[in-house]
Amino acid sequence: MTDTTNTIRPRERDALLQALRTGVVPRVGQQHIQVGRVNEVRALTTDIDRIADGGSGTRFVIGDYGSGKTFFLHLIRSIALQQKMVTVHADLSPDRRLHATGGQARSLYSELMRNMATRSKPDGGAMTNVVERFITEALTEATATKQTPESVVRAGLNQLTELTGGYDFAEVIAKYWQGHDTGNDQLKTDAVRWLRGEFSTRTDARQALGVRTIIDDGNFYDQLKLLAVFVRLAGFSGLLVCLDEMVNLYKLANTQARNSNYEQILRIVNDSTQGSAAGLGFVMGGTPDFLLDTRRGLYSYAALESRLAENPYAVDGIVDYSGPVLRLANLTPEDFYILLTNLRNVQAGGDPSKHLLPDTGLTSYMEHCSSRIGDAYFRTPRNSIKGFLDLLAVLEQNPQTVWTDMIGTIEIPTESNPDLEPLDTTTDEPSAEPAQAPSPPTQDPDDELSSFKL
């Protein structure tokens, strides 16, 4: 995947750099910076081919914090889009879960729908396009088979009504068609809003669309299955659902809530192994804790443990990429070095003559990071990448500067939950604690706090 000789288009270069500098995973051009993981990508590509062929599949991408799960998931997504699939993705959070009673599952569903992407609309918000595509397909077919568009649409939707909750789903699509047919834009908007799970009360949905149900916590997964069938009706090859930050389920403090979510995962795993969810694939990213912890991880749920157990022969360098669990190894300093080389190359637009930093600059930057935040610089590289790109940006815009002077001045913060940081009370004078002036050994317990291990 590391192709340093090709030139990179300026649009791609800018999008890539901008995303990385703000600390998010870029939506395009990942292949320019991807490091290693050829086998893993191949395994997922096989999965995607199978789903596009009407199969199903569930993969758990398991890796430590910062091992590049999110990046990997995005890469898989972009491959799926190339395979004419529709993708939806979302991060789980305390407010977005697979199962809930307080609206958190609907919230996850809405988030997924907001991020719905197709090849022509890779940045999300593709729901309207998908429905529109269905209509267009129907119209084309109607012209070809000399039927009325109405009857073609109805015939297609009949397939949906077989499934749980399919009647209302079909009804909503029919309303969209009606709106399309009669030029009623409000009806079309309402239909899309319903599909995105944005109706919060049944009354509203009934008034707007005449359906008795809405998408809520209870029918979250059924709706995804309907959607998978629907996107195939619309001419796509399948639906890929990417769920990241699954560790949030592991963190749920309520035992009951956690187990309900694991039960939902079990349903998904069962459906996909039995092939009863045609054209629907799941990729879920989580930490080893989320999978392996027998007290609160997936393994705490006995039925899941037996299904997800890793191949006992796959140890010590022997690998098996066909199981439901895919392990991502941590990045190594060597990988990080290649990553920096790639970044330097992207920055130079793929032209080695424009490299702003010699190879020694890369190593001294790594040394600088290591002295500041230790191993975290290559394990959770978000901040060290950001710092590196900041450095390149300065060097590019100020040709008079020398990189050796700049490296030492770059700040690389450690990551933490901003909500728990102390308030910045600017009104306070800095000399607020005269009583505790002679306390030199504060350094020691501080370190102990940040590196605290039970």
């Binding site: 914090y65 933490s416 102390p422 501080d446 102990e448 605290f452």
Partner: protein
């Protein structure tokens, strides 16, 4: 603040009024108020500006609630005028009581309707739509308890920033009731966490009773920045207070009118009668100190009503009664047309708006000034004088009466509390606690709120910048480890801390939200039978005595995990009836009591019986010469009386325990059962020698240290630290120890006092080689410290094998009155011609020289000898001493070992008891038998270990002329 207010007050009031929003002004006009009260007008400006935190302090019913709400509503109204506001809660009102919230809700609805701001409330009893509205459409003012606020953090942690986004003010009602408590620590933490969640500070307004020193309240409201909190202390409006203190003497005569029913003692019947005659027909509150007495009095009053064939207006009200019953009583009190008297525990002390009562009655000694002030505040709200009647009953004194009861502590404590109240004194809250229990709760709560948190984040959010100022990093890490050991928390691979199985169970249950213990008491069990339960908030030690259901019990086991205390009935000695042991009495009250004993004040508000009781107390005080700090002998016990608060007395008791002396706390006294005073003083001297003990090490001597809810998750070390901080006052107790050592300088005692090393030893004393001298003395009183003298002495010589070789005895002229005649049978006439001790000194010293000195309860006899030697101006030699009492106990543990019992057990002819010669002969016989018992049948009792010290002082030469002696 006060001086600034008193000038041109009405001008200020007008200015303040003008600053308010027109809609608020309109509301004030509608209320028919002519002018804002002082406290109200002074609060307007600082709250409107919103630059500082404010404490509004004023007497109950002086309008301090409005003082906060008028400017707050004014701000909100002005913002509403400016355009649509951000959705979310704008004012948070936190109150300790659900009832207070319901009451405030009613009052605020009117005011907030005027400015079109919704008022919502949320507490355990609020359900349904009102509850949901907070999540779906948070707005306006929210009235909440700390517990429900905690629930918001745990259950809706991620929504909090949205719910409280526009929050501007936090009002804390009855703030003084939070200070120094676990609940207060929880509240502080929640306030801090709200600010962390919305990423900015919010103005805090505390409504509080008056403090002498506001710095405690300021530090509470804004930890670390207390000095920036503005205090608005309104000049206390001196309302008229009518007071009466009535004393009663109880007897156990059965009530002739109530045959076949539960009979109440006379004093209760008299008090009930007085209550019935004076309270019926009005709304009153009668506070009794316990639920049992609430039940007893409501029963008596009900019977009186039946007897007089009138409807019963006296209803009980306490925490164990059902909600509907309590609410009915509250409604009756509130309605003017149904005269009702509620007999209640502290449940009605605070806040619940039951209108104002016409009068307040207090049965039993009030234990704190703050509580009685709070209670008085419930009466006389409508510009009528407050009325307080206090009823105290004491028992008649007889020969068995305990010293503490003789002092009439109940009545004196009542007078002290009432006097302090009149002086406007107020207990300072105990803010020394670490609140580790609440810290544990908050750690779990933060973890639940954020779905996990790192150690560094938890520390910075709760301790580093948070309200748990007493916890440093080291202690916090220890706490986390302690929690992990008990499965309360666990750690994910990246260092994130999560709730472990135990913590998760706690979090999933609604009881988690309360920081305080909900009815978790120790069960008291005796011989498999449950006697009842008791909240344990003072040290209970194995071997100590405890009073329960009017009986005295000995603690034989304490099981902290199952919260049970096993008791066995304790023999002998009447328990003092004083029942304030469980409640914390502050130092100030005790010092005031001493001042009252020393003085001659008889307040005008006491009745004749009470005045008599006060006089009796003072007589006892003088009789026992109880200065500031004293140790006295009372029967076979020793009692330390120190006019100090319960925390210091508790600490002293733990200190004595560390020296092997078990002491029971009885009011201002500390009773050491079956401990002769010299033993106690020796222990104290030893304690003193060791220097001031470390509080944490001291705390390790207390087995039941788990006081607060989550203390069970602390490892022993942290628990000891927590206990030491909160419940021990070592410097205070040390003062008492120093004072005792000063008043009773260490005598060179038989059991190796610190002075005994002055004399160079010549050779060792040992069983089988050193002969014995058995000594017995008769005395004028039980202790030389109280001026006791020897009136008769006998010395019996035994050889190494225990065979009697010689005996000698004489009466002694004590140069003063002869007490104890009933014991030893000697009076002044009998000893008038006897020699003085100084004449006998050389003879006695010689007779005891080069021998092991033996006596029954040796510390008593040897202590007297030391005292007499000191009187004669010389130091007594440090004789090696052996005690037959100890030997007898060693042989037959648990059996009585007094001389009478030993005479029986060792078949010694019963001559005359308490004659020096006969007693010495008896003790000598006990020793002989013990020495000569068959060593193949039983282990040796008399061993060298028992001799203390184990070396002989220099030989005392025989006097040239033997002194004259005088026998009976």
């Amino acid at each position: 603040m006060n001086s600034a207010l008193s000038n041109s007050e009405s001008v200020r009031a007008q200015g303040a009024f003008d600053a308010l929003h027109p809609k608020v002004k309109e509301w004030i006009w509608k209320q028919g108020w002519t002018q804002l009260r002082a406290v109200q007008s002074s609060a307007v400006q600082p709250i409107l500006e919103g630059r500082v935190d404010v404490i509004i302090s004023a007497a109950t019913a002086s309008g301090k609630t409005e003082a906060a709400w008028l400017p707050i509503c004014s701000t909100l109204a002005a913002q509403a005028d400016a355009g649509p506001t951000q959705p979310g809660v704008k004012v948070l009102y936190i109150s300790p009581l659900k009832a207070l919230i319901n009451d405030q809700h009613g009052r605020l609805l009117d005011l907030c309707e005027a400015i079109d701001i919704p008022v919502n409330r949320r507490h355990g009893d609020v359900t349904g739509k009102e509850r949901d509205s907070l999540r779906t459409a948070p707005d306006g003012a929210l009235l909440i308890t700390p517990e429900s606020l905690e629930a918001l953090f745990v259950l809706q942690g991620t929504h909090l920033p949205t719910i409280f986004a526009p929050l501007q003010y936090i009002v804390i009602d009855e703030m003084h009731s939070f200070i120094g408590t676990e609940r207060g620590a929880q509240l502080q933490s929640l306030l801090h966490r709200i600010e962390l969640a919305i990423r900015r500070p919010v103005r805090r307004i505390g409504l509080s009773a008056t403090f002498a020193d506001f710095s405690v309240a300021q530090d509470f409201l804004r930890p670390r920045n207390g000095d920036q909190v503005l205090v608005l202390d309104s000049p206390t409006e001196t309302a008229e207070l009518r007071m009466q203190l009535r004393g009663y003497l109880s007897t156990d005569d059965p009530d002739p009118n109530q045959v076949g029913q539960v009979s109440h003692p006379t004093d209760k019947r008299e008090i009930a009668d007085h209550l019935y005659r004076h309270l019926r027909g009005n709304d009153n509150l009668v506070f009794a100190n316990s639920r049992a007495s609430v039940e007893a009095y409501s029963d008596l009053l009900k019977r009186l009503s039946e007897h007089h064939r009138v409807s019963n207006e006296f209803l009980p009200h306490h925490g164990n009664l059902s909600k509907s019953f309590r609410e009915e009583v509250e409604a009756r009190l509130k309605a003017r047309d149904t005269p009702t008297t509620a007999v209640c525990t502290s449940t009605l002390e605070m806040g619940i708006d039951i209108g104002s009562a016409d009068s307040i009655a207090q049965i039993g000694a009030p234990y704190s000034v703050s509580a009685i002030r709070q209670r008085v505040g419930r009466s006389g709200r409508r510009d009528s004088p407050a009325t307080l009647r206090t009823y105290i009953s004491e028992r008649p004194i007889d020969s068995n009466t305990h010293l503490i009861d003789r002092l009439r502590t109940s009545i004196m404590q009542s007078v002290a509390v009432l006097e302090l109240m009149l002086e406007k004194w107020f207990e300072p809250p105990n803010t020394s606690g670490l609140h580790l229990s609440t810290l544990i709760q908050q750690v779990l709560s933060v973890i639940a709120q954020h779905g996990g948190a790192s150690a560094a984040q938890l520390y910075s959010a709760l301790c580093g910048d948070g309200p748990f100022v007493g916890v440093d990093k080291r202690m916090f890490l220890d706490l986390l480890r302690s929690l992990a050991d008990r499965d309360v928390i666990m750690q994910a691979g990246d260092g994130l801390l999560l709730a472990g199985p135990v913590g998760e169970r706690a979090l999933n249950h609604y009881t988690f939200y309360a920081a305080f213990q909900t009815a978790e008491e120790y069960r008291l069990i005796s011989a498999g039978q449950v006697l009842g339960s008791l909240p344990v908030d003072y040290p209970v030690l194995v071997g100590s005595m405890m009073i329960f259901t009017g009986r005295r019990w000995k603690v034989i086991d304490i099981d902290a995990p199952t919260k049970t205390i096993e008791l066995t009935p304790s023999s002998g000695g009447l328990a003092p009836r004083f029942n304030g042991g469980a409640a914390e009495i502050s130092d100030g009250v005790r010092r005031k009591m001493r001042e009252l004993y020393e003085g001659d004040l008889v307040p005008t508000y006491v009745n004749q019986t009470a005045a008599d009781l006060i006089e009796e107390g003072r007589t006892a005080y003088r009789q026992y010469n109880l200065a500031d700090i004293t140790a006295v002998e009372s029967g076979t016990d020793s009692v330390i009386v120190a006019w100090r608060g319960s925390r210091i007395i508790n600490t002293l008791s733990v200190m004595l325990t560390s020296q092997g002396i078990t002491a029971t706390i009885e009011g201002p006294g500390l009773t050491c059962r079956h401990t002769p005073l010299p033993d106690l003083l020796a222990a104290i001297a030893q304690l003193y020698e060791g220097g001031q003990p470390d509080p944490v090490e001291l705390a390790e001597h207390v087995p039941a240290k788990e006081v607060d809810k989550h203390d069970r998750f602390l490892d022993p070390d942290l628990l000891a630290q927590s206990y030491a901080k909160h419940s021990l006052d070592v410097p205070g107790a040390w003062e008492v120890v120093e004072e005792l050592v000063r008043l009773h300088p260490p005598l060179p005692l038989a059991y190796g006092g610190p002075d005994s090393e002055r004399i160079t030893p010549t050779h060792r004393a040992s069983i089988g080689s050193t002969p014995f001298a058995v000594v017995d003395v008769e005395t004028t009183s039980l202790s030389p410290i109280m001026g006791g003298r020897i009136v008769e002495i006998a010395i019996v010589h035994l050889d190494q094998a225990g065979n009697q070789t010689e005996s000698w005895s004489t009466m002694v002229n004590p140069e003063g009155p002869v007490g104890g005649t009933s014991t030893h049978g000697l009076d002044e006439d009998a000893v008038a011609d006897a020699p003085l001790f100084s004449e006998l000194l050389d003879e006695i010293a010689h007779r005891l020289s080069d021998r092991i000195v033996v006596a029954q309860n040796a510390s008593f006899d040897v202590g007297y000898l030391h005292s007499e030697f000191a009187f004669a101006g010389t130091d007594a030699p440090a004789w090696p001493t052996l005690c037959t009492l100890r030997l007898a106990r060693k042989r037959d543990p648990g059996k009585p070992a007094n001389l009478a019992a030993l005479r029986d057990r060792f078949s010694i002819d019963s001559a005359h008891e308490h004659r020096a010669f006969d007693d010495a002969i008896a003790a000598a016989e006990v020793l002989r038998q013990l020495l000569q018992q068959d060593s193949t049948q039983a282990p040796n009792i008399v061993t060298d270990d028992e001799i203390q010290p184990d070396w002989l002082p220099p030989t005392w030469p025989r006097p040239i002329d033997p002194p004259r002696t005088l026998s009976r």
